[in-house]
C-alpha cells in the first residue's frame, strides 16, 4: 500500500528539477501506479467473476462426477452419467426440447426480420413502432405466462377460442392436449422475445450505407429488388448470429413450460432444463443434474463451434 501513495510526490519535483530525466520518470511513475491501483480497482469485480462465474463453471465439471447431500461429497466416477442416460424420460425431454426449438425457429425467427424491415421503412411512425415492438420485452415472462394461461382457456368462452369461433374454427384444447401444448408454449415465448431480436435487426438495418440504396435506385432497381438484393444480404451476418443464439437459448428453455404446463400433459412438454431442475430440486440429486447440464452445455458448445466454423467458411 505504501508504494501506492509515495511515488506521486516524486514526479512533479523531478520534472521541474531535472528536465532531461523527466520524460522517462514521468512515464515510469504513473505506469507503476496504474498497475497497483488498477489491480485495486479491478479486484472487487474480478472477485465477483471468480466466485460467481468462473468457479461455478469449473465446479460444474467437477460435481458431475460427484455425489453430494450438501454435507458429505464423494467421487462416483461416471455413475451420474449412466443414471441420466438410463432415465426413460431423457429421450422424451430431448425430443420435446428439439420440438420446442424447431417450432420457435419456424414461428419466431422470421417475425422479427419482417417487422425490422418494415419499421426501417417507416418515417414519422418509426418511434411508436419501435416502442410497440419492444414493449413485450420489458414484461416479466411470469406475467405473460399467467396472462396467456387465461387466453388459452380451453372452453368455448376462452379468449382465443372466442376469436377462433368467429372464423369458424375450434374450440382448441391449447395447453390441455399433448399435441397442441408445445405449440401454445412457443407462442407465449415468441411474444415475449420477438421484440429484442427485431430491435437488433433494426439497428443493423439503420447502419446500412444509404449510398447502396441510392445507387440501386439510380440503376432502376424496384423496391422489392432493393429489399432482396441490398437489405437482406446486409442482414446476413446478423441473421446467422441470431439464429445460433436463438438455438442455444431455446435448448435451455425452462420458465414457460415449467409454469404453463409443469411438463404435462402426459410429459409432452418436459424439457431438458426441467429434467435438470427435477433432479436437483425435487430429488436432491445434484450430481445427476450437473451431469445432464454438462452434457447439454458440451453439446451446445460443439454445435456452436461447428456452426461458426461453417458459417465463416461459407462466407468466404
Amino acid at each position: 500500500m505504501t508504494t501506492v501513495t509515495s511515488p506521486p510526490i516524486v514526479p512533479p519535483v523531478a520534472a521541474g528539477a531535472q528536465a532531461v530525466d523527466a520524460p522517462r520518470r514521468r512515464r515510469r511513475g504513473p505506469r507503476m501506479r496504474a498497475g497497483a491501483m488498477g489491480l485495486l480497482i479491478a479486484l472487487p469485480a474480478v472477485a465477483l467473476f471468480a466466485v460467481f462465474s468462473w468457479w461455478p463453471i469449473v465446479r460444474g465439471l467437477v460435481i458431475a462426477f460427484q455425489k453430494t447431500n450438501l454435507i458429505t461429497t464423494d467421487w462416483v466416477g461416471a455413475a451420474n452419467f449412466t443414471y441420466v442416460l438410463a432415465d426413460p424420460l431423457l429421450g422424451k425431454a430431448l425430443a420435446n426440447t428439439a420440438l420446442y426449438a424447431g417450432l420457435a425457429l419456424v414461428i419466431g425467427f422470421p417475425i422479427p426480420i419482417l417487422f425490422a424491415v418494415l419499421i426501417a421503412e417507416m418515417r414519422r411512425s418509426r418511434r411508436i413502432a419501435s416502442f410497440l415492438v419492444f414493449l413485450p420485452v420489458v414484461i416479466p415472462p411470469v406475467v405473460s405466462i399467467l396472462l396467456w394461461q387465461v387466453f388459452y382457456d380451453p372452453g368455448t368462452r376462452g379468449l382465443f377460442n372466442t376469436v377462433l369461433a368467429a372464423v369458424g374454427v375450434g374450440p382448441l384444447p391449447w395447453l390441455q392436449s399433448p399435441s397442441s401444448a408445445m405449440l401454445s408454449i412457443v407462442l407465449v415465448a415468441t411474444w415475449g422475445a420477438f421484440g429484442s431480436t427485431a430491435i437488433i435487426y433494426l439497428a443493423t438495418l439503420m447502419s446500412i450505407d444509404t449510398q447502396l440504396y441510392e445507387a440501386a435506385e439510380i440503376d432502376g432497381a424496384s423496391i422489392w429488388r432493393r429489399i432482396w438484393h441490398i437489405t437482406l444480404p446486409q442482414l446476413r451476418s446478423t441473421i446467422l448470429l441470431l439464429l445460433l443464439l436463438q438455438l442455444i437459448g431455446t435448448f435451455q428453455v425452462f420458465t414457460e413450460p415449467f409454469l404453463l404446463t409443469g411438463g404435462g400433459p402426459n410429459n409432452s412438454t418436459v424439457t431438458l432444463l426441467m429434467l435438470i431442475y427435477r433432479y436437483a430440486f425435487i430429488y436432491g440429486n445434484f450430481g445427476a443434474a450437473a451431469a445432464l447440464s454438462l452434457m447439454l452445455a458440451l453439446a451446445l458448445s460443439v454445435f456452436a463451434a461447428v456452426y461458426l466454423w461453417l458459417s465463416r467458411k461459407w462466407s468466404k
Binding site: 514526479p11 501506479r33 498497475g35 491501483m37 488498477g38 489491480l39 480497482i41 479491478a42 472487487p44 469485480a45 474480478v46 465477483l48 467473476f49 466466485v51 468457479w55 463453471i57 460444474g60 467437477v62 460435481i63 453430494t68 417487422f115 418494415l118 411508436i128 413502432a129 419501435s130 410497440l132 419492444f134 420489458v138 414484461i139 416479466p140 415472462p141 411470469v142 406475467v143 396472462l147 396467456w148 387465461v150 387466453f151 382457456d153 368462452r157 421484440g195 431480436t197 437488433i200 439497428a203 443493423t204 439503420m206 444509404t210 440504396y213 435506385e217 423496391i223 432493393r226 451476418s237 446478423t238 448470429l241 432444463l273 435438470i276 443434474a289 447440464s293 452445455a297 451446445l300 458448445s301
Partner: protein
C-alpha cells in the same frame, strides 16, 4: 467474432447530438423506399397501406394483451372468464387493486422486486465500470488474460453453472439472503464488453493530459471517465433493471422464503390459489414499473438492445 460494427453503434449512444445531425438524419430519411418512389401515387398508397397494417398489427399483438390485462385488472372473475371481450358488464371493480396489494402480498413482492433490482443494477454498473476502465483505459499487463477470461463466459452455455452456482451460494451461507441475487446477477460479461468498448472511444490524450497534471487512476476514473460515460452507464443500468425485473428461476432457487421473493416468483406462487380478478390486478401492478421506465427511457433501451447485436456480431 468481429466486433467492428459496434463502435459505430456505441458512439451514437454517447455523442447523441453530433452524429444524429450529421450522418444520422440522412439514414433516417432514406431506406428502400425513397422520396422519389413516394411521389408515385401507386407506390404511395401501397406504402401507406402496408405501413398502416404493420402498425395496426403491432398494436394488436404487443399492446393488445396488455390493454386486456388493464381491463381485466378491474373486472370481476366471472366477467374475465365468461365475457373476455366485453367491457365490464358487471361494473368496474376498483377494489381489485388494493385487494391484490394486501391480500395476495403484491405490495410486499413489489418492495422485494425494487430492493433486488436496485442492488443488481448497482452491482452491475459497478462491475462494468471498474472492469471496463481497467481493461480499456489502464490496460495493465494482465489485461488480455483478464479480458479473455471474462469474454469466454459469453460463449459458455449458462446451464452449466446453474447447479454449481446454487451449491456455491449455499457454501457461502448466502442462500435466502438478497446477496444471493445481487452478487451473481451483477456479473455480466456483456455489460463489461459494452462499457469497455465505450471507454475505448474516449480520446486517450485526455487521460495522458490528466496524468501529466498528476491525476491518479482513481481521479481519472472519477473526474474524466465517469462524467463522459453517463449515457452508457444509463444503458447498462436499464438493461440490468429489465433483466432483474424479469428474472424468475434464480430468485426462485436463491430465495426460498416467500417474504423475500420478488414479483415474478411471488405471482407464480400465489397464482394457483388467488382469485383470478385479484391476480390480474397484481399482474397489472407488476408490469406498471417496467412499462413506465421503458416509456421514459425508450431511446436508451432501443440503443442498448440494438447494440447487443452489433457487439455480439
Amino acid at each position: 467474432m468481429s466486433l467492428t460494427g459496434s463502435t459505430r453503434t456505441l458512439t451514437t449512444v454517447g455523442g447523441e447530438q453530433s452524429p444524429r445531425r450529421g450522418r444520422g438524419i440522412r439514414s433516417l430519411e432514406r431506406s428502400n423506399v425513397s422520396d422519389a418512389d413516394l411521389s408515385k401515387r401507386s407506390v404511395r398508397w401501397g406504402y401507406r397501406a402496408i405501413m398502416g397494417a404493420a402498425i395496426a398489427l403491432l398494436l394488436l399483438i404487443s399492446a393488445g394483451p396488455l390493454l386486456w390485462l388493464a381491463k381485466a385488472a378491474v373486472s370481476t372473475t366471472q366477467d374475465i372468464l365468461r365475457e373476455p371481450f366485453a367491457f365490464w358488464p358487471s361494473g368496474i371493480q376498483w377494489e381489485n387493486i388494493p385487494d391484490a396489494w394486501n391480500q395476495i402480498q403484491i405490495g410486499r413482492f413489489t418492495l422485494n422486486s425494487v430492493i433486488l433490482t436496485s442492488g443488481e443494477v448497482l452491482v452491475a454498473v459497478f462491475a462494468a465500470v471498474t472492469l471496463g476502465y481497467v481493461l480499456a483505459v489502464l490496460r495493465p499487463v494482465y489485461g488480455p488474460v483478464l479480458n479473455g477470461a471474462i469474454m469466454a463466459t459469453l460463449f459458455i452455455p449458462g446451464v452449466i453453472s446453474l447447479i454449481p452456482l446454487y451449491l456455491t451460494v449455499i457454501d457461502l451461507g448466502l442462500l435466502d439472503s438478497y446477496w444471493a441475487v445481487w452478487l451473481p446477477n451483477g456479473v455480466s460479461a456483456f455489460n463489461v464488453l459494452i462499457m469497455k468498448q465505450y471507454f475505448q472511444t474516449i480520446p486517450r490524450e485526455l487521460f495522458e493530459a490528466a496524468r501529466v497534471d498528476g491525476a491518479g487512476p482513481v481521479r481519472i476514473l472519477w473526474s474524466i471517465v465517469l462524467p463522459m460515460a453517463r449515457p452508457i452507464i444509463g444503458v447498462v443500468a436499464l438493461l440490468a433493471f429489465v433483466a432483474s425485473w424479469k428474472d424468475f428461476l434464480w430468485p426462485l432457487l436463491a430465495l426460498p422464503t416467500p417474504g423475500k421473493q420478488p414479483l415474478s416468483v411471488g405471482l407464480s406462487t400465489v397464482a394457483p390459489q388467488a382469485e383470478l380478478a385479484v391476480l390480474m390486478a397484481g399482474m397489472f401492478i407488476a408490469v406498471l414499473i417496467p412499462i413506465a421506465v421503458f416509456t421514459v427511457f425508450q431511446k436508451q433501451f432501443i440503443t442498448g438492445a440494438g447494440s447487443a447485436g452489433a457487439v455480439k456480431g
